[in-house]
Amino acid sequence: MSEIMHPLRMKYTREHVKKTTNCPGCGNGIIVQAILRAIDELGMDMDEFAFVSGIGCSAWIPSPLFNADTLHTTHGRPIAFATGVKLGKPELNVVVASGDGDLAAIGGNHLIHAARRNIGITVILVNNGIYAMTGGQTAPTTPRGVNTTTNPYGTLESVFDISSLVLAAGAPFVARWTTYHPRQITSSLKKAFTSRGFSFIEIISQCPVQYGKVTKSGSALDLLKHYKKDSIKIDKARTMDPESLKGKIVVGEFVNEQKPELSAEWTELKARVMEGRS
């Protein structure tokens, strides 16, 4: 538990929330700041937003901290809830923040269908490579071969490349950064918050307490050093062969294009059929 002392604190967070649930060194704090900076730099108001999260450490990023409408839902389902919030009030900027287990394991189906539908919400997926909240169990993002609580003799399964998955499902905006890239996260979030379609940002983030300990990957600093050393920008990665990309984290904006957005399409459709009726 750590006191929040940042200047953005008074402007964007609930006054009575004095503590975060993050452990010292957790990447979630960097993500909180990146989100609030993006809102601040855009000059947007918290009342334009509704934040939706699932269950897990990362789901605590907006809830109850952010001084906005916040909907803390069940494990795996925040995107499904957020889809209803957005279609019910298309003028709201609906933002989901949740973990890799939440959004890519139990909630994976909602993720790909939201990307396919192009519902105009922003999804921030915190990829810490583990189920942190429940104590270091294997996630679909846990590297092959490491030991976890539920694979004490080493994981046997391959990892999900979540950004590629969401890209393949049709999302018009997909970016991946690590917590070593707070400025870049903020910049991508600004694009996401002002774009109309489904925007997806995967953030590789350090969990020193579960991932670090259970998989013996070291401290927060060790993990950040790894992100610094092994991150490769997408433009460069495109020129490299798969063999030399092994163990690397490809970061950057993978796609940024315009596609018809679902809530706007509904508004148009309703106007069309109601006019046809009269």
């Binding site: 609930r14 006054e15 009575h16 918290m46 009342d47 509704a50 939706v52 809830s63 109850p64 001084n67 906005a68 409408d69 916040t70 909907l71 803390h72 839902t73 069940t74 389902r77 499904a80 809830f81 957020a82 889809t83 209803g84 919030v85 957005k86 279609l87 019910g88 009030k89 003028e91 709201l92 189906n109 909602h110 269908h113 509904w266 459709l269 309703k270 059929v273 109601m274 009726r277």
Partner: protein
């Protein structure tokens, strides 16, 4: 058949399938967001809503599964919409976790369950009232639910409107427990003029300041709903929370209230919520039923009276909260209750618990499960029992 549509209401006298009457009831009640996943025998409801909701400015979203359907209607309810989903038992089973979410966050919504023969995949096209207990007790934890049991297409309309009204008034999920037989039955349905329908809309929180200055939750007298997009900075969580909606996992008093206040909210208003149909004055025997079977019960009671037996009927229109007082009152005035259910006896233990101290209580299931009770069969069993 005459018909004129004013506003959202298809007023007039129609010959309608129960599921269509239900969809028209939802539209008349002002439903403007529905989500669902196709399933027999409920599909006609979503098909009809898909066609008609946009004409009235509403949306029907076909979701990737029933978990998404219930979750998205909860979300849309928090955006201020009147919302519905329609499914059958397998869909209810998938929805259960987030039905609990709606209970815990006091979210108004309507769930239509057109029940089919189960367990599991069972028989899609055959009606069986197999979900009667699962809708009241199927999500984990301790809570109360409101559930209504239509006996035909007319009530598929009337009780759908009522389900919306109750959900909006009390900020709760409400079930309409149709069976496949009722959903697919075609009968005369009279839809009143828009001016004759009384509709309820939720009270919306207008309180200034943030949630810490307001009571957004846990009021047995129903807290105004702090819907999103109004600058209220509402906090909604299904984790144990206080009246401001703020999570609290340490204060036993708050845990106690988190469970008991939503229950009290329903039970304090039970007289407004519970409806039963009763006709057992001067009778020794009563046939107790709901849904499709209540039609057989009425027919059997008539046959019995023609035979000189004093047989009355009692029908649950509301099955949850359980009409315990009404059952007790009846038990004290009759000698024998015979419970008829289109299942192996789901409400029977609840009825017995309220009645067995004062009268004899027996059960008659369908002769063959999946077949509606034959009134002649009911009469012959009744005669055996009283002999």
């Amino acid at each position: 058949m005459s018909s004129k549509t004013t506003g959202n209401v298809m007023a007039g006298t129609h010959f309608l399938m129960g599921n269509i009457a239900c969809a028209e009831g939802a539209i008349a009640a002002g439903c403007n967001f529905a989500a669902g996943y196709p399933i027999t025998p409920a599909t006609e409801i979503i098909n009809h809503l898909a066609k008609k909701l946009p004409l009235h400015g509403g949306i029907f979203l076909q979701t990737e599964d029933e978990i998404s359907a219930i979750s998205s209607i909860v979300g849309a309810s928090w955006s201020g919409c009147k919302v519905l989903t329609a499914t059958s038992g397998p869909g209810i089973s998938l929805m259960q976790e987030n039905i609990g979410f709606a209970v815990a966050t006091e979210t108004p919504l309507v769930i239509i369950d057109v029940q089919r023969l189960g367990p599991s995949t069972g028989v899609p096209s055959i009606g069986l009232a197999g979900d009667i207990v699962q809708v009241a007790r199927g999500s984990h934890g301790d809570y109360q639910i409101i559930a209504l049991c239509p006996d035909g297409p007319q009530e598929m309309f009337d009780l759908t409107v009522r389900a919306f009204n109750l959900s909006e008034k009390y900020r709760v999920p409400v079930f309409l427990m149709a069976e496949g037989f009722i959903g697919h039955m075609r009968e005369r349905v009279v839809i009143p003029d828009a001016s004759e329908l009384s509709l309820v809309a939720r009270t919306i929180q207008r309180g200034a300041g943030g949630p810490m200055q307001r009571q957004d939750f846990l009021d047995a007298a129903v807290a105004p709903m702090p819907v999103f997009g109004n600058g209220l900075k509402s906090h909604v969580t299904s984790s144990c929370h206080d009246e401001h909606g703020m999570r609290n996992l340490s204060d036993p008093e708050i845990m106690h209230k988190f469970i008991t206040k939503p229950i009290e909210k329903i039970m304090r208003h039970r007289d407004d919520i519970i409806q039963v149909e009763k006709n057992y004055k001067d009778c020794d025997i009563v046939l107790v039923a709901y849904g499709s079977v209540s039609r057989s019960a009425k027919a059997a009671a008539e046959l019995a009276r023609a035979d000189g037996l004093k047989v009355g009927i009692f029908r649950f229109i509301t099955c949850w909260p359980f009409p315990g007082e009404e059952i007790r009152e009846m038990a004290e005035s009759v000698k024998h209750m015979i419970v008829l259910e289109n299942n192996c006896g789901q409400l029977f233990p609840y009825i017995k618990a309220e009645a067995a101290h004062a009268c004899r209580v027996d059960f008659i299931g369908p002769q063959t499960l999946g077949q509606i009770h034959d009134p002649e069969y009911v009469l012959s069993r009744l005669k055996e029992m009283v002999r």
